[in-house]
Subunit: 425 residues, 2 copies
């Protein structure tokens, strides 16, 4: 790739690790999609000298594009625009139109805070209307505008909050100034495959074999990673090369043949997307113990999920399992709350309670306490029930800490649900 | 602080965001504890020129200590030790003792993989026994040794896997070479304050005033950030300075006086911690519509929460609100599902259903659809009910997208719960 970029992430809270940086990885993905090579990500605190040093470093490395995140707020420690302006050798000028826009936004926002002096806040926000002369203004998503400063390198200045940065990046990329900066990039095709139920080392071995058996394998740039308990395999290649396209087809054949059961997505779709499709026309209800609502919350992440999610119960105590879901107390006594019979009774109970046609139950030991030799921390029982009769029940031992076990349990539940709904049990 | 450090994180999988870097934030925390100021974290891929450029950049910034992570494995793209050696102007030399140690580890490891040629693996690992002349060797935790190269700056080379890096860092810090590099560090006191219900710009205004009114204000290093809908204010100062301690006390007075209602934590405790304390001896149940389990999940993040969480219901549909919680269908017809009367009925219903003494209900419009002029997206009604009689009901308009509204709603709910339980309503 012949166009190179660098990312400067600012913010003392990010440098010190109090807030996890989500912008560097997100921008890295976007650059990859564009075919722009990312050389460096640098993080520093809200100190002008450090931010300026990083900009200069990236310029010395010959990058064509620098993207900064953070430091656009109204407080005194937000200085990125001023520093970038100086770095690019441009004056800071007040943009009257932008000032009016910010004033409007702040006035609306202040309506929720009657005790705060709106005039004072507008004055504080006025500095956000100062932009480098000749820069392209990116309208605020929150209250902070971004800018694109054309030049060598071209600098794109974006706000820190991810929900403001992400749409603003899309606007920035569409500007002629950014398009000019990345004009020499190489276009790649990127394909994503997802697998579940295969260890990373098993995949590594298959890829080593494929390297020998698939012609043109070296035309493929493959990265693999473990994400939310699933394996994600991203392959990039030049779409004009027939050899590369054939090699990708060959790789896919090998994966299908060896790991057909584990391979659940060839088009990059998440299991969540697949479940949303499979639940169309159905009504699902959840019964959760150790995950305590995480599965219901995950099922309703998508807009429109109310069409198929009836609801759910969090039955943390044994009494709640009995009172709300009609789980026989004797069954709990006999098998324990974390057992397949109890998971099945929970699924049957919630199916009936909500008048649903699909139910998922989860009961497990998230830890750190509560484990035993027979049922160590990480033991989780799942049951999927459908009114048409099929019930799928499994017990798994999941690795990690309390938070990992809870999160991973929702992924396992979605995969069992997928299998039940597709008849692949 | 008079001792400064930089961190170089290497690895293409980390740069591209496929694997989240955990070493930068972890090391940042350790440096903060030590009183060493962190200036920069830089990330780059497995490219010698990029790694070397970052080392040089940090040296030019005058840091006393550089810590690297990653690139110590046996494969061809693991080159950190070689690059650091060159950067420090030292020859690479084979350490016979280290070679034997690595050989032993690899032999033990290979016993689990009978198909692999152990001799070939040992040969591949031999390069890991090459270290810069005069460096201090840090024994492997996995198979990769680390090194400390004394000088200006002193460079500590650590492996990428966090479970190897973390114990090895403790070993590195104990060496006389690292102790010498950080000898001039300053010990700081760090205090965290949390506020809720105040916009960031309102705080900025107060801090500007405090700068004028509080003597010694410039002895305080203050960073503020918005986190999960709350404001976090972290202040650091030299504990030996009476002026700085007095300034901090003065700042706290100003914040208490101006924003007493918003200021909920003076000791850094999260609202989640406070709620866990307040719920001791009680039984809580939740009734959630738009948050669909997120509040129940948040209440149970802590181990031991089963002592006070009975459970909850996710009543996504109106039918579920009526069937499970006994919310009068006529009430929903009259006021709408997102209304204070329905929130109150949900709280009352779940209180009774679980035999709890504390209940929280949330019903709102998370979007993107479902909004109206009277009840736009982001409108969320909350009700907290206690058996001792008090009920606290509020309607808020929360900013952001579907995910933000849902997440923010759990924060608002916890704050209302805090007020109800402390009688501050």
């Amino acid at each position: 790739m012949s166009v190179r970029a660098g990312i400067v992430v600012t913010g003392t809270e990010v440098l010190t690790g109090r807030v996890q940086d989500r912008n560097g990885p997100w921008l890295a993905d976007r650059l990859l999609e564009l075919g722009v090579e990312l050389g460096h990500i640098t993080l520093c605190g809200d100190r002008p000298a450090d931010i300026e040093a990083q900009l200069r470093f990236l310029a010395e490395q010959g990058v064509d594009l620098i993207i900064t995140s953070g430091g656009l707020g109204p407080t005194a420690d937000d200085m990125t625009v001023e520093i970038v302006s100086r770095f690019c050798g441009r004056e800071l000028v007040l943009d009257a139109g932008l000032e009016a826009t910010i004033g409007d936004i702040v006035t609306r926002l202040m309506a929720r805070f009657p005790d705060v002096d709106a005039e004072a806040v507008i004055a504080a926000n006025r500095k956000q209307a100062l932009v480098p002369a000749g820069a392209v203004i990116l309208d605020p998503v929150g209250t902070a505008p971004g800018v694109v400063v054309p030049g060598t390198p071209t600098v794109v200045v974006l706000p820190g909050p991810p929900r403001e940065l992400q749409p603003m990046w899309q606007t920035a990329v569409a500007t002629p100034e950014v398009q000019a900066a990345i004009a020499g990039r190489t276009h790649y095709r990127q394909q994503t495959i997802r697998m579940f139920g295969l260890p990373e080392s098993g995949l590594a071995e298959t890829l080593r074999d494929a390297e020998r058996s698939v012609a043109g394998f070296d035309r493929l740039e493959i990265t693999t990673c473990l994400r939310r308990g699933e394996l994600e395999i991203v392959t990039r290649y030049e779409p004009e090369s027939e050899e590369a396209a054939a090699a990708y087809a060959g790789l896919l054949d090998v994966l299908r043949e060896r790991h057909g059961r584990a391979l659940f997505s060839e088009d990059g779709a998440l299991v969540d997307d697949q479940i949303a499709g499979l639940l169309a026309g159905r009504r699902i209800a959840t019964a959760e113990s150790c995950t305590a609502g995480l599965l219901a919350a995950r099922l309703t992440e998508r807009a429109g999920s109310s069409a198929y999610v009836a609801g759910g119960v969090v039955v943390y105590s044994n009494a709640a399992k009995t009172d709300l879901l009609g789980v026989d107390a004797a069954l709990i006594d006999e098998h324990g709350a974390v057992s397949e019979p109890v998971a099945e009774a929970m699924a049957a109970g919630v199916l009936q309670r909500f008048g649903a046609d699909t139910a998922v139950a989860i009961t497990g030991i998230a830890g750190p306490g509560g484990g035993s030799e027979a049922k160590p921390v990480g033991t989780v029982c799942f049951s999927v029930a459908l009114t048409e009769g099929a019930t799928l029940t499994r017990t798994m031992r999941l690795p990690g800490d309390r938070s990992d076990v809870r999160e991973r349990s929702t992924t396992v539940a979605l995969h069992l649900l997928r299998r039940a709904l597709t008849g692949d049990s």
